[in-house]
Homo-oligomer: 292 residues x 2
Amino acid sequence: MNAPHASHPPLSSLWSTDPGTALRVGRGFRLTDVDPSSTPGFDGKKKHAEAELADGADELSELQERLFAASTGGATDAVLLVLQAMDTAGKGGIVRHVVGAVDPQGVDHYAFKKPTKEELSHDFLWRVESRVPSAGRIGVFDRSHYEDVLIGRVRELAPADEIERRYGAINDFEQTLVERGTRIVKVMLQISSDEQKSRLTERLERPDKYWKYNPGDVDERELWPHYQDAYQIVFDRTSTSLAPWHVVPANHKWFARLAVQRLLIDALRGIDPQWPAPEYDIAVEQARLAAT
Amino acid sequence: MNAPHASHPPLSSLWSTDPGTALRVGRGFRLTDVDPSSTPGFDGKKKHAEAELADGADELSELQERLFAASTGGATDAVLLVLQAMDTAGKGGIVRHVVGAVDPQGVDHYAFKKPTKEELSHDFLWRVESRVPSAGRIGVFDRSHYEDVLIGRVRELAPADEIERRYGAINDFEQTLVERGTRIVKVMLQISSDEQKSRLTERLERPDKYWKYNPGDVDERELWPHYQDAYQIVFDRTSTSLAPWHVVPANHKWFARLAVQRLLIDALRGIDPQWPAPEYDIAVEQARLAAT
């Protein structure tokens, strides 16, 4: 087998630590220890990150095409990116600038909103299960089943014992997904409270940003410490070896985008999707085609 | 009201005729008169087209964001791009290189395949109706309800009187969509039979293209004149003033991409989406935010 990505060096020398390692939530992780303005593992500046992001877009795009092609030959691999964050942390920018580099035909993006009445009448995982990516695709969950243990916990939207039950249910669900061939990349973008204030302030100052502001954002902001606690519990209970969390400091958008791109590329490199062998006889088809 | 696109000249001087006009299927149109290697209305070469495509990507992206933003303020406008073509004509490239420039959060791409048993048990429009874009979104139909009068006609997949009924049903359906606020951009990419042969040949020569080849492609190719006739009937019966067809010569991929981008930009300019006014009191929200 040829080395499929020989033209791509594994990582530039600006990464002193592999981003998967530098950002991964392991035993003893404390969210309060994360500096939202830091750039763990990356020693470059904005201009370096932007240059790497552009290079990475080509690799990500090629890997996605291979992933899709491989699925036409029967491979069951898929990738699911789960994005969670406080408002304004930059989920939208990740989708636009990282996922946006990939052929839209290969991506399933879904933004989970407040559950509908029908969705609420089912188990919390019901609406999520129907949105998981099929073989060959990159799924993007913009918010996810984790809302049910984040806002769900902070605002007591379900009884305490039901909230408790959900952590285990999530782990079981994700384990099933992984066993079916889906690599799950779980990302929490961490901004500081001051940075959120500044971004919300900007939305109230620019007529082209007004529509992004929602008075409810301030209601949630007032519960900031409670959300941080709820995230800590999420990390403690659902950062598993099969589907670990990554906390990405996101005060610098350029770092967050580069880091998430790298996590996606690593997931795809791990799959190492191959162009499938033809399911037809090439010589026969060449002859048929030549006769037309 | 400000001129929203003052920074974008209407069209570069390389277009002698507006692409919407140059490519539109009007009365007396004959598909056989179209030269698939021509570039109607455009006097530039590949390098000019590629430069214009890059500029247009920025405008398309901005217009899409405005379209989406306007919908959050109650606007009902949407855009639906319908792509039809013979195999290898470049639908995929349009999605990747034209639609791909737009934020994936604002695009609903759907590739219609051979209908399932459940879909076949409904009217032919049933599966299409559930896929139309909601307000603020750009929908892309990669193949569409037109398959039901193209392969449907050529391969006699339905009784003749049912095929006849469908043209009127399509016009009624599209009229309803337009009345709800959806601009429909219908595009047929026209390649020559020789060009298709060369592109299929390439797929049989390159291991990274094998997966794109399907022996059924040659079966359809053998019916080329029948498909051309079926397209002619589609144009005669469904190129309406509300939802006209555009035939885009596509032997030059660079021209087809530029032309489709222009048609999309024109549709969005026609909507002229505006940033919505805030639905909250800015001063009140600034004070609430400042107090946090």
